[in-house]
Symmetry: C2
Subunit: 326 residues, 2 copies
């Protein structure tokens, strides 16, 4: 069997995760990694060719799907359409406010090139989006709730690190258990930002830094922390590395609804992930399979997880799927 | 806007549920109920025309999707293909061993008639099947577990009622909490039938019946109870009606897996349903929308939940879906 030939664009945590994930799928192989850094300086977790981003065009016809592993702030807004002008792609674009814009650019580039691009793939957006649409469609009268955590927020950790006197930091987003219980009981509560999540910060201060000031700066930081109940723990660098070295995450999507005869229903989807980027990568690889197959059936343009029938994700034949999984 | 015109074939708990569910979807209307009984004797929960099963052919062009609400044992094997020769259909066929046969018959009838039929829709098969395929595709290395309950099993309740001296009975299937915990911990246990579920029976005995014999007959009944830890409670008829009058159900699909770098992941989907048939009906109605739309795009033949892109289930436009749910 001809394997699905993948390319990886950008080699950080997500790119490494895609290499690991491809290894677990016997119908996949990674042909090359593309980087804007010096390829000689990129050390991959498994042996694979590393080439310059600019050389990508030489791989047309040799790679079936490019998995874009850059960030949503600056990389993907440029790269998704650019790469889609040559290859099928999957990206994990997650800047919610800019989804329409990103979709339009990808749709235009991919349609023109006759390629297919799946955007905003991962777990949120991605699998959590699937839960939201399927739950909402199954129970039209009800409320949907998304909780994130317990997990490390990279953005919030970075925000703490930018404070003067902070050497390193890790921020955990934590769902409020009592809020979750109210949802599970079918109370359909209106929950404020503060009522849904708390923020736990583990901070390594520089020698002699003013910890009281650092704590105050964190807790009053607008957008990031001011709207939350935030706790700050000062710890040693050793403790940070030992107990907070991973990138775990997870969360829940719940829908609480009722029938016209007033019977109550609760639908719940949850994830507990030891490694956020490695799970996201694993989902990206499954959608690369879908993109490959749908493109093979003639589909071009931009799609999201909403447009992908589940059969395309699974390596089994449709007959086997019905037999083993239905 | 032209509403999606539904027909209901068979009017038991599921048919009633479809009427209730359609009421919650403003883009749907129920045109008629079809029954093999005397239509005059069918009392519907909401006002609707009731007609004979044989008269269905007079509604071609007046109904967009027929929702089949009969049983999998004898009704659907005959009706699904028969009705699909005239209309788009959705059914909840759940005899797992006969899925290939049912699929082939529906595919053939629907292709020939130019209609579209969605089979095995509901929560299991249905939403649980979606969880199994999406979870398995997202985490190729791992184990999937399905637990059912706590909920009433109609088949097992009926089996108890057939025992001499039993006036009425209700059987609950209950997941074993400790087994569930082992799965959640990532132990990936091999679980026997007995280790996954227990069976709780609430029995109303006839006046003067031999309760010890009844209990023994239940606990040793092959296929139904012999392979399970079964408890039998004799209660009064009043208590049965008061505390066990509903048809609740639910369950969980879990997948425990890991990355090639040995990081662990847990995916979990669960349902808690006050009314099993009303929830199933609500899912059938969402898939009726999908069938209507996919048929409008030219799709014919048989499909399962694996073949339906989530966008088709949701009444929102694709643009609104991306904006509100992605």
């Amino acid at each position: 069997m001809q394997k699905i030939r993948l390319g990886i664009v950008g080699y950080g945590n997500l790119g490494r995760g895609v290499q690991y994930a491809a290894k677990q799928n016997s119908d996949m192989e990674v042909v090359a990694v593309f980087t804007r850094r010096d390829p000689a300086g990129v050390k991959t977790v498994l042996p694979v060719k590393v080439d310059k981003y600019e050389n990508m065009k030489n791989y047309v016809g040799k790679i079936d799907v490019m998995i874009l592993c850059g960030g949503s702030a600056t990389d993907l807004p440029k790269q998704s359409a650019e790469v889609a002008s040559m290859f099928n792609i999957v990206d994990s674009f997650d800047t919610h406010a800019k989804v329409p814009e990103h979709y339009a650019a990808l749709e235009s580039a991919a349609k023109k090139a006759g390629t297919l691009g799946a955007m905003s793939v991962g777990w949120d957006p991605g699998l959590f989006s699937l839960a939201r649409i399927i739950f909402g469609s199954s129970l039209p009268e009800g409320n949907t709730y998304t909780f994130w955590g317990r997990g490390v927020s990279q953005g919030h950790s970075d925000a703490i690190r930018r404070i003067e006197g902070v050497k390193d930091a890790r921020q955990y987003t934590v769902p409020v258990e009592s809020a979750l219980e109210r949802v599970r009981k079918g109370e359909n509560p209106e929950l404020t930002t503060r009522e849904k999540h708390t923020r736990e910060c583990y901070v390594v201060a520089e020698e002699g830094a003013d910890k009281a000031r650092i704590e105050k700066e964190i807790k009053t930081m607008p957008n990031y922390f001011a709207d939350y109940d935030t706790t700050v723990h000062f710890i040693s660098e050793e403790e940070l590395l030992k107990n907070h070295g991973g990138i775990p995450h997870g969360g829940l999507v719940l829908r609480s609804g009722k029938s016209a005869a007033e019977n109550k229903f609760l639908m719940e989807f949850s994830l507990k992930l030891d490694s956020n980027p490695e799970f996201t990568s694993s989902v990206l690889v499954a959608y690369a399979r879908a993109v490959y197959r749908m493109h093979g059936e003639g589909k071009t343009g931009a799609v999201t997880v909403f447009d992908v029938a589940p059969k395309y994700l699974c390596p089994l034949s449709e007959e086997e799927q019905r037999k083993q999984l239905l």
